[in-house]
């Protein structure tokens, strides 16, 4: 049996990424009910809001689901308190050192997965006792690593270095790219962008439509001096670029970023002034559909590879 299916007790080795302003209880429960693993993205939630989402998710599905927590957020301890009190069985951590929280969560018998973008941090995560890692390539949306290593290059490197199960992320929006990631050595995949353009995502419709409209070259990895993040090149990004072009300071960039830019773009649908985080693979997404249809299409396309490719003699 696939190690990822076994670890999470799910039918398909497809994890829906925990994404700010996109993955609340609705999306997470829909994915879990369809045989994948749904994740609530705690990064955009106050502790009370997270609790509400967890409770609603429990009511909406009997299947396993999880929560994604960016470790660098200020109230991470309050979020973790909620997660433990609400008996969430699976926690994905990202953007920070997994050491302290992994131990704490493992003591509470939770399944812990950490998101990395390098071999070095994959090994650190394994050492800290996580059950699996997500290895995320350069093409992924939102926060990203500094090494700029693409999924194609990263997965075989991490696979060779670690012993625990490996989940691939970045550039995976179809069953064919899922197959590709698994041929490279991944045991399962984490899918973000494709689920943003789903009926159940809490993202604003304007943003979902923008994802559907985007083409090759619509996104860029920027803000490397602060935290690298991949976003759509919209008018807000152009303001950042203008600061770069005239050699502005990191402080100016931070000031332009300000607060609430991500919420404004992705949740409130302000395509001009908001920050729109999405992966390169948005260029392959042409329709807003249900989470269940996404999973079904993935499995169909995954299996179709067996019809198309034969052994080479």
């Amino acid at each position: 049996m696939n190690s990822i299916n076994k670890l999470f007790n799910i039918r398909y080795p497809i994890i829906q990424a925990g994404m700010v302003w996109a993955s609340g209880w609705k999306l997470a429960s829909a994915v879990s009910n369809s045989g994948g693993l749904g994740l609530i993205g705690a990064g955009s939630m106050y502790p009370d809001v997270l609790r509400e989402h967890i409770q609603k998710c429990k009511r909406a599905t009997k299947k396993p689901f999880g929560v994604n927590v960016p470790l660098l957020y200020p109230d991470v301890d309050l979020l973790m308190k909620v997660i433990i009190e609400e008996n969430v069985p699976i926690i994905f951590t990202a953007a920070g050192n997994p050491k302290i929280w992994t131990k704490h969560l493992k003591n509470k018998n939770r399944i812990v997965v950490h998101v990395i973008s390098s071999v070095k941090f994959a090994l650190k995560a394994q050492e800290s006792g996580v059950d699996a890692v997500v290895a995320e390539g350069f093409e992924a949306g939102g926060h990203n690593g500094r090494e700029e290593t693409t999924t194609m290059t990263l997965i075989p490197l991490v696979k060779k270095a670690i012993k625990i199960p490996l989940i691939a992320a970045g550039g995976i929006a179809s069953g064919k790219s899922m197959f590709a990631a698994m041929a490279l050595g991944a045991n399962g995949v984490q899918v973000g962008s494709r689920f943003v353009a789903s009926n159940e995502a809490s993202s604003h419709l304007n943003f979902k439509n923008e994802v559907v409209r985007s083409q090759q070259g619509s996104t860029i990895l920027t803000l490397k001096e602060i935290t690298p993040v991949r976003m759509i090149k919209n008018p807000f990004y152009n303001k950042l670029k203008e600061i770069y072009d005239r050699g502005g300071s990191v402080d100016e960039l931070k000031k332009m970023l300000g607060r609430g830019r991500a919420k404004k773009g992705m949740f409130e649908g302000d395509l001009l002034e908001g920050e729109l985080e999405i992966g390169q693979v948005a260029s392959q997404i042409n329709k807003i559909i249900s989470a269940e249809s996404i999973i079904k299409e993935f499995i169909k396309d995954y299996n179709s590879v067996f019809e198309e490719l034969k052994k080479i003699t």
Copy 2:
């Protein structure tokens, strides 16, 4: 039958990239003799030198082989004259507009393939009458596109847009990544970096050893203001970076580049002062072996995916 095998009349759909200072007649003929398609890289050759390599290659193999020509080079017409006179059956063109040369070469009944890094240029190449395109991702070594689209994202996009056969390049150094590329929709693969670290490559041994030593993060895509190129972050790159860091001009970059940096690094083995062009996937290459062994390993690893992955029910 696979469309790439058929187009080139080769056993395996593996093309060895035509690379400056690496792929002369020795490497090209060894690859062709092993069932792939070997390419002589004309980019680093004077017309007379190219003629010599073609003639030696003909003597060394009865199998099809080709020549890669960067179209922006000053003496491209002289190189093409040699290619036509010597009856080279297959020509790969890159870095330039394929329109004029494709027509000329098709009139002489040659097979023409053009290298692109975007859907837009894939369509232009198809329109100009090429027989196939190579779609090259962000992770590839040497000259690269401006869109920064990774192989994982690029291949399905190009596949959907064009009707002619598609060859994937960038990030492919094993049979597993070859499988991944073909699951994404490619009909064959072009492999560069892996063949640099081969016995038959004309690259300097110092450079081959540097490829073997390189790890995640060893390369970077730089010189985006001139022509984006992926290279190893060696002391020569550090000098470029120093110009960037202090906000230096494009002229300063060009002056630092000067002439002969690529030859100095890759052919003469000066790891300090030379430019070392290689793909991200160098981090997966751990041994200098023969071209024949590379091809054999590719096929073995490709077929092993069928043992490891099963249909999902």
